[in-house]
């Protein structure tokens, strides 16, 4: 009961280094509320992808504390899903079978797998492509399948590591809108790593700007543009003001690095 009001992810003074290597993350603290869409942005080497890995419990932390949905990251692993820059689909499986994969790995019965896959594919608008093989799809379609696959386990937290980085701008804009539309239907908390300020502003309600060497949280920007956001949002003066503001912060962080 009390977990509902607690932050879904909490970092308290988190430190991370690999062996005797340099400190990757230094004293990172933040709280993510349920339903937050948080973008992590910053120069390369600032450890933004590492934050995602630590939430997923894949790597142990070197200091501090992480709480995910009231437990340790390792315990909460079934509540989250990953989307990478690469679609990482199995080429020998159809779109449908690819979406079913995580359920299959978790031992979900075949009948209910198909049902869930169907639903997730319709969320990303690919119901008519379920018999296709990945090589028959465009880059944007592959990424949609990858998102459908991530949604198939009904995650509470979605970790997205530059998922649209390899796509052209038009496709990227479309997928951004689709991602938000899906979020209207399913309530998950998102952590989104990106290099694109415009994308971060469009998607998030919070943007965490990080600085490098060692990775620290530099500042946080709240984006109070109302959801649902559409193409009109991109035209609005507030949106463009925020993009300019975040770009400025990012530039100052980059300078700090140099």
């Amino acid at each position: 009961m009390p977990t509902e009001s607690l932050p879904i992810v909490e970092f308290a003074g988190v430190m991370k280094r690999y062996g005797d290597g340099p400190t990757i993350l230094d004293n990172v603290s933040f709280k993510a509320e349920r339903g937050d869409f948080i973008s992590l942005i910053g120069p390369s080497g600032c450890g933004k992808s590492t934050v995602l890995k630590l939430i997923s419990g894949l790597n142990p932390i070197s200091g501090g504390k992480i709480v995910v949905d009231g437990m340790s990251p390792k315990g909460a692993v079934e509540k989250l899903s990953f989307v990478f820059q690469e679609p990482t689909l199995l080429p020998w499986h159809t779109v449908e079978k690819n979406v079913e994969l995580p359920m299959r790995l978790h031992g979900v019965a075949a009948a209910s797998r198909a049902e869930v896959a169907e639903r997730c594919l319709s969320l990303v608008g690919l119901s008519d492509r379920k018999e296709y093989y990945p090589r028959q799809l465009s880059g944007g379609q592959k990424m949609r399948v990858s998102i459908a696959r991530a949604l198939s386990v009904s995650p509470k937290i979605l970790l997205l590591d530059e998922p649209f980085g390899a796509l052209d701008e038009m496709t990227r804009d479309h997928l951004n809108e689709e991602l938000l539309a899906i979020r209207q239907q399913l309530a998950w908390t998102a952590f989104f790593v990106t290099h694109s300020v415009a994308e971060a502003v469009f998607l998030s309600n919070r943007i965490i700007v990080m600085s490098a060497n060692p990775g620290r949280i530099h500042s946080e920007v709240r984006v109070d543009l109302p959801y649902p956001r559409t193409e009109e949002t991109r035209q609005s003066a507030e949106y463009q003001k925020l993009v300019a503001e975040v770009s400025k912060i990012l530039r100052s962080v980059e300078r700090l690095k140099a």
Binding site: F82, F84, L90, P91, W92, H93, Y133
Partner: protein, 265 residues
């Protein structure tokens, strides 16, 4: 360059074949009488086919059986060994030299040992075929099993997939193209292995001699036409093996693998 119509492209190999038979025929008739025996004419070879049809068919069946058995054992064993080899670089480092030795050992030399161990005939032929096919198959499959896309492996680990799931749902399917490459090499070697095996360790008891045994008989009798016919049968056997493997690999790969994509055909 002008495009060659499709039907002509398919007809070309057949036309070359007919041309080559003509060339063969003209070489034959231009040979002097005392050299004529060196090269049988196409009609002599055709005649040998008619005359020795039964023996050749029986030989093909025997050799084909030995080749299939040796090839089958090789497929199964190379797959299992490749799985073991794929487990760690340490296992590979400690076993690879011995696989090499297996490949380097001249079959002719160990044939007498094999005859003593497993007995002449079918079992020796199978063993020799296996020895000849095994190495390229195990090397290819191992290479496939350790070449799995790193991103996919990471994805499986993030999904908390078991080692077992990682092997069967990820590593094995992604090794299939390599596996079939090994199979294709093995398929060309299997009939040769079975003929060589039959030649050096065959058993003709009960008329069960294979093509290797027929080779011994015909060469001792200077039956050049029959020898040519035997070679052609052996060749055909090889084609049957390769065709079967090609069909099998098409069935399992054509839907998803890049090598079958139409755009770069």
């Amino acid at each position: 360059m002008r495009r060659i119509p499709g039907f002509l492209k398919k007809l070309l190999p057949a036309l070359t074949g007919v041309g080559m038979i003509f060339v063969w025929y003209f070489i034959c008739i231009s040979l002097s009488a005392d050299h004529r025996f060196l090269l049988p004419s196409p009609s002599e070879v055709g005649h040998a086919f008619l005359e020795k049809g039964g023996a050749l068919w029986g030989g093909a069946v025997t050799t084909g059986g030995g080749a299939l058995a040796g090839f089958g054992v090789s497929v199964a064993l190379s797959f299992v060994i490749a799985l073991i080899l794929s487990l760690s670089p340490l296992v590979r480092a400690s076993l690879y030299p011995y696989l090499m030795i297996l490949q380097m050992t001249p079959v002719i030399v160990i044939a007498p040992i094999l005859i003593l161990w497993v007995g002449p005939g079918f079992r020796s032929v199978t063993t020799i075929t296996f020895l000849i096919c095994f190495f390229p198959m195990v090397v290819n499959t191992t290479q496939g099993l350790i070449s799995t896309d790193r991103n996919l492996v990471d994805y499986f680990r993030m999904c908390k997939a078991s080692k077992w799931q990682e092997i069967w749902l990820l590593r094995v399917p992604s090794a299939l193209p390599y596996f079939f490459t090994g199979l294709r090499i093995g398929a060309t070697l299997a009939p040769i292995g079975a003929i060589v095996g039959d030649y050096i360790a065959g058993n003709s008891a009960g008329g069960q001699g294979g093509l290797g045994f027929l080779t011994i008989i015909y060469s001792s009798q200077f039956q050049m036409g029959a020898l040519f016919a035997t070679a052609i049968v052996g060749c055909a056997l090889g084609f049957v093996f390769v065709a079967a493997v090609v069909a099998l690999s098409w069935l399992s790969l054509h839907k998803w693998h890049e090598s079958f994509s139409r755009t770069d055909a």
